[in-house]
């Protein structure tokens, strides 16, 4: 009796096995399709890998180029400042000489006045004053030249102010470099997932060099509308009162 039962169980198991093989046969085409698909994706993955590697390798070059742009603009700005300093110094000399000219002009004016008073009817004196020594005409020229010198001086100062853009853009470029470094690290870890050997190549041969002594503000903006300064002035003024100190303390706690 027991043997009959065992045989029955055996046939049942064989039936299960047969069903499994029948199912397996049906599954084979699907598995084949998966294998075919995977084989087809290998070149694609290789292309992706190559593309990532190429991008990763280009990043250090871009970082170096950004650094060289920063250095070049700093050199250029220094050269401009040299010229501006020299021109400003010349302007100061011109203004100083004009001041001394003014003193002499005042003296000349008095002398001419005395001369015309002394010789009111002398035609030579009249001609001299009319053609070459008219103090009013000279004074007019003096005033316009002085105004022009002042205008040039103000313009030179405006150039100096605008050159602050170099510091601000260098901070923006440093920020871009920092971002590129982060991207390269991400790409490197992606390469690691695809092929460990590629990671080694990237890490050893193509590491971005971000200058470690470069401190920057990623939010640096060249904004001449002075609204931010007005806002800073408000906070500084508020800081001096007890009520606003409370507000500032609250803000400080939120950080």
């Amino acid at each position: 009796m027991g043997q009959v039962q065992n045989m029955q169980t055996l046939f049942e198991r064989l039936g299960d096995l047969k069903s499994f093989f029948v199912y397996g046969q049906k599954l084979i085409p699907t598995l084949q399709k998966i294998v075919d698909f995977m084989q087809a994706t290998i070149p694609l993955l290789e292309t992706v890998n190559q593309s990532i590697q190429e991008s990763t390798n280009k990043l250090p070059k871009a970082a170096v180029q950004i650094d060289s742009v920063t250095n070049a603009t700093e050199v250029a700005v220094t050269e401009i400042l040299d010229v501006v300093d020299e021109a400003t110094s010349d302007c100061v000399t011109i203004i100083s000489k004009l001041e001394s000219l003014r003193t002499r002009l005042d003296y000349q004016k008095k002398s001419i006045q005395r001369l015309t008073e002394k010789y009111p009817d002398d035609p030579d004196v009249k001609e001299l004053v009319a053609n070459g020594l008219n103090p009013e005409v000279i004074l007019e020229d003096y005033t316009s030249v002085t105004a022009l010198a002042g205008k040039i001086q103000a313009g030179l100062m405006n150039i100096t102010i605008s050159l602050q853009v170099q510091d601000i853009t260098s901070q923006q470029l440093a920020s871009a470099n920092h971002m590129m470094n982060s991207i390269q690290q991400k790409l490197s870890s992606l390469l690691y997932d695809i092929d460990v050997k590629d990671l080694k190549e990237t890490a050893d041969d193509a590491k971005i060099s971000v200058s470690s002594d470069l401190a920057f503000n990623p939010e640096a903006r060249y904004d001449k509308n002075h609204e931010t300064q007005a806002f800073a002035d408000l906070l500084v003024a508020e800081n001096k009162t007890q009520t606003s100190q409370k507000e500032i303390d609250e803000l400080f706690l939120k950080k």
């Binding site: 700093e74 220094t78 601000i168 470069l214 931010t228």
Partner: protein
């Protein structure tokens, strides 16, 4: 009494612009420092420094750390400090004020603004 300024900025361009602006508004005595650490050394070596103008973002020791280090020394408790920086966020300004800077300028600035802030600081009685 004539002021002697310690101008702290890692940018050579900015130091030069600050110095030019100071000259334009009639100041003549300056010491330059390229970062906070350099500034602290120069401050300790020169007792005649009477005013600090500092940037914020600098390597090694930032402007904010410099302010904290200076204020931690009772000798420099009332030394005027003016922060000149690109950082214009409210939190930044508040943090600088908490660290006890006397006033705050956001770049780009004009010599007129610089003069105004220096005069305000000098005119404010020491608490």
């Amino acid at each position: 009494m004539a002021l002697k300024f310690l101008v702290v900025d890692d940018s050579v361009t900015m130091r030069r612009i600050v110095l030019n602006s100071l000259k334009q508004i009639g100041h003549e005595a300056f010491v330059e420092a390229a970062d906070g650490r350099d500034a602290l050394n120069k401050l300790q070596a020169d007792d005649s420094i009477s005013f600090i103008i500092t940037d914020w973002n600098m390597p090694d020791l930032t402007g904010l750390d410099l302010v904290k280090a200076v204020r931690a020394n009772p000798k420099y408790e009332t030394l005027p400090i003016l922060m000149v920086t690109t950082r214009g966020m409210k939190e930044d300004i508040v943090e600088a004020l908490q660290a006890k800077v006397n006033n705050y300028i956001v770049k780009p600035f004009t010599p007129q603004v610089l003069r105004e802030k220096i005069e305000q600081i000098i005119a404010t009685p020491v608490a």
